[in-house]
C-alpha cells in the first residue's frame, strides 16, 4: 500500500523524533518512577503546535491529517508511552468529538483552546459497572432551568488530573438504554465536579489516571454535545478515532523494543561472540521485526482510511487489536532477550513491557476490537 508519505510528513516526523530525543527520552525513566505528569513537555509540545495536529487551522489546529498525528504519537511513544497516550487522549478523545459533533459556538469556545494546546482535554465513559457495556452507565444528567445537573462517578480517566475540558457521558433517559446516553462538555473547575485519587498503575505511570466525581454538578444546557440520546454514537465514533492513536502508541512501543533488542544482542557477548550471532536469536528478531512492520502497515492504513473520509471502524479496530498484541509480545521478547538486564529498570525494555500491556485494554479491549471487526463482516 502506498502511504504517500509526503515531504511535509517527513519533516514533521523529524521534528517529533528530535523533540522525543531531546525532551522526552531524558525524563522518561524518572517520570515513570515518580508517577509525575510531564506538564513542562506538554507546554513545549503546545508551542510547537503538536496538540491539534489533525484539526483545521481555523479551529487552532495545525491543519494536517491523521497520518501526521499518528507519526507524532509513534515517535513520542518510542521514548515514552505516557507522552503518547496524553497526546492521544487529548486529541482523539477530548478535542475530536467537539470537532465532529460540536456547534460552531462550542468549537470556538472549547476546540480552539484544545487545538492550540492552551487547554488539555479528556474523555469519560467508563464507570465502576460500565465499560465495555455502555448501557450500564449510572451517571445521570437531568435538565432543569436551563442547566443539566450531573450526578455519578467515572473511573480510570486518562489525563484526569491535568485536563481542563472533559467530554462526559451520562444517562438522560435510562429507559432507552444506550439510546438514553448523552455527551456533555464539562469544564474542570465546575462546582460539583471533583477528582478522586490518582490510580497506582502497572505502567504508563506518568499519565494522570483518576476517578471523576459529579455531585449536583450544574452545567449550561448549551454544553450538550450533539443531541440528547446521541451519546453512545458519539462515544463509539470517538473511540474509533482514539483506537488509531492507541495503535500508534503500541507501534511506537513495539518499534523501540525491537530497536533495543537489535542493539543489545549485537553488543552482548556470550560463549565468545555477540548473542546476535546465534541463529535462534536471529529468528526471534526476524519474527519481531516482521510483526512490527505488519502492525505499522495496519496503523498507517487505518489513518489513511480516516483521512480519505471513508468508514474506518474496522481498520481502526484491526490496527489497535494487532498493534497492541504485538507490542506486548515484542516487548516481552525484548525483555527475554536482554536476560537479567531486561528485568532491571536501567534498561528501557522493562518499562516498555509494563507500558505495552495497557494498549490491549484501554479504548476497547482486544476482545471488543474483535467484536467490532466481526460485526463489520457479519450481518
Amino acid at each position: 500500500m502506498d502511504f504517500n508519505i509526503s515531504k511535509e510528513h517527513e519533516m514533521c516526523k523529524k521534528v517529533y523524533r528530535d523533540f522525543a530525543e531531546k525532551e522526552v527520552e531524558p525524563i522518561a525513566s524518572e517520570i515513570d518512577e515518580n508517577c509525575e505528569f510531564p506538564y513542562e513537555n506538554i507546554k513545549k509540545m503546545a508551542k510547537a503546535d503538536m496538540l491539534g495536529i489533525p484539526f483545521p487551522q481555523k479551529y487552532g489546529g495545525a491543519g494536517s491529517d491523521t497520518l501526521n498525528y499518528v507519526f507524532a504519537i509513534e515517535e513520542l511513544s518510542k521514548s515514552c508511552a505516557t507522552h503518547g497516550v496524553i497526546l492521544s487522549a487529548h486529541t482523539s478523545l477530548g478535542a475530536d468529538p467537539i470537532y465532529k459533533y460540536g456547534t460552531e459556538e462550542q468549537k470556538e469556545k472549547y476546540l480552539k483552546p484544545l487545538a492550540t494546546g492552551e487547554k488539555l482535554g479528556a474523555f469519560a465513559l467508563t464507570e465502576p459497572n460500565a465499560g465495555t457495556d455502555a448501557a450500564g452507565i449510572k451517571t445521570t444528567a437531568v435538565l432543569k432551568d436551563g442547566q443539566y445537573i450531573l450526578n455519578g462517578n467515572k473511573i480510570f480517566i486518562t489525563n484526569a488530573g491535568a485536563a481542563d475540558i472533559f467530554i462526559i457521558h451520562a444517562m438522560t433517559d435510562k429507559s432507552k438504554g444506550t439510546r438514553g446516553i448523552s455527551s456533555f462538555i464539562v469544564e474542570a473547575d465546575t462546582p460539583g465536579f471533583s477528582l478522586g485519587k490518582k490510580e497506582n498503575k502497572m505502567g504508563i505511570n506518568a499519565s494522570d489516571t483518576r476517578e471523576l466525581i459529579f455531585q449536583n454538578c450544574k452545567i449550561p444546557a448549551e454544553n450538550l454535545l450533539g443531541k440528547e440520546g446521541m451519546g453512545f454514537k458519539i462515544a463509539m465514533g470517538t473511540l474509533d478515532g482514539g483506537r488509531i492513536g492507541i495503535a500508534a502508541q503500541a507501534l511506537g512501543i513495539a518499534q523501540r523494543a525491537l530497536d533495543e533488542t537489535v542493539q543489545y544482542t549485537q553488543e552482548r557477548e556470550q560463549f565468545g561472540r555477540p548473542i546476535a550471532k546465534f541463529q535462534g536469536l536471529q529468528w526471534e528478531i526476524a519474527e519481531m521485526a516482521t510483526k512490527v512492520e505488519a502492525a505499522r502497515n495496519l496503523v498507517y492504513k487505518a489513518a489513511k482510511t480516516k483521512d480519505e473520509g471513508k468508514r474506518f471502524s474496522k481498520e481502526a479496530a484491526m490496527a489497535k487489536y494487532y498493534a497492541s498484541e504485538i507490542a506486548s509480545e515484542v516487548a516481552n521478547k525484548a525483555v527475554q532477550l536482554h536476560g537479567g538486564y531486561g528485568y532491571i529498570k536501567d534498561y528501557p525494555v522493562e518499562r516498555l513491557m509494563r507500558d505495552a500491556k495497557i494498549t490491549e485494554i484501554y479504548e476497547g479491549t482486544t476482545e471488543v476490537q474483535k467484536m467490532v471487526i466481526a460485526g463489520s463482516l457479519l450481518n
Binding site: E8, C12, G63
Partner: protein
Amino acid sequence: MKIVVCVKQVPDTNEVKIDEKKGTLIREGVPSIINPEDKIAIEEAVRLKEEFGGEVTVISMGPPQAKDALVEAYAMGADKAILLSDKAFAGSDTWATAYTLSQAIKETGQFDLIFCGRQAIDGDTAQVGPQVAENLSIPQITYVKGVDIEDDEIIAKRQLEDGYSVIKTKLPALLTVIDGLNEPRYPSIKRIIDAYNKEDTIQTWTVEDFEVDKDKLGLDASPTQVYDTFVPTRDHEPEILEGDVEEKVEKLIKKLKEEKVV
C-alpha cells in the same frame, strides 16, 4: 525591525563518514540539517521580531534540496524565505558566496540587522558573515553571545577566550552568533504544513531574479584554491599516566623531557 538571516544547509557531521582515499566527505545517506549556529541566528531574529515587531527574512544559497532548511526556518517563525539556487552559483567559495548573498540582501530592500551563524560545521571558515558585512559596508560584531537593542543601537556581548567584551554600534549591523546565545525553538507543525501548502512561503531566486555581476559568481570567481585534502592520521597511541597527581606530574615532565619538548 527588518532582520535578515543567512543560513546554510550542511551535512550532519555527527553522522558523516570520510572517504579516506579522496579526503572528501561521503554525503550519501547523511541527513542534511540547518547549520547549528545558523539555527541560533534564526531563533535570535525571531525573538527580536516578537519583542520589537517587524519581519524576518531568511536567505540561503544552495542546491534545490536546501529548500528543506528554509522550510524549517519558516516553521521556526521566519516570515519570508529565499533560496538562491542556480547552476551559476555552483562551486562558490566564501568570497563568491558572500557576494551572492550580499546582492540578494540588497534586493530585499532596507534592513536593520543581519544575523549569521559564526561558522558552518562542514567548512569551519567563519568568513561568510564578515565578508557580507564588508560587502554591504556595515559594522559587524562576531562571536555574539548576548544581544540588546536600545533605540537604533545594538549592544552585543562578544565572546573572547577569557571573558567577553561589550560592543555598541548603530544599526544596521551584522552579527555572527555562537552557541549559548539562545535555545532554538522546535519548528511549528502548523507552519511546516503552511510552508508546503501556501503559495510563496519559500521563494527560489535564480541569477535572473536579482542584480548580480555574473563574473563574480561560482567556481570561476572563487579565489580559494584547494591543493589537497587529507584525513589526519594518528601515529601515536595515547598513553594514560597512572598514580596520584604528583606522581603523574613527575611522569609527565619526564616524558616531555624525553621527547625534548621542554
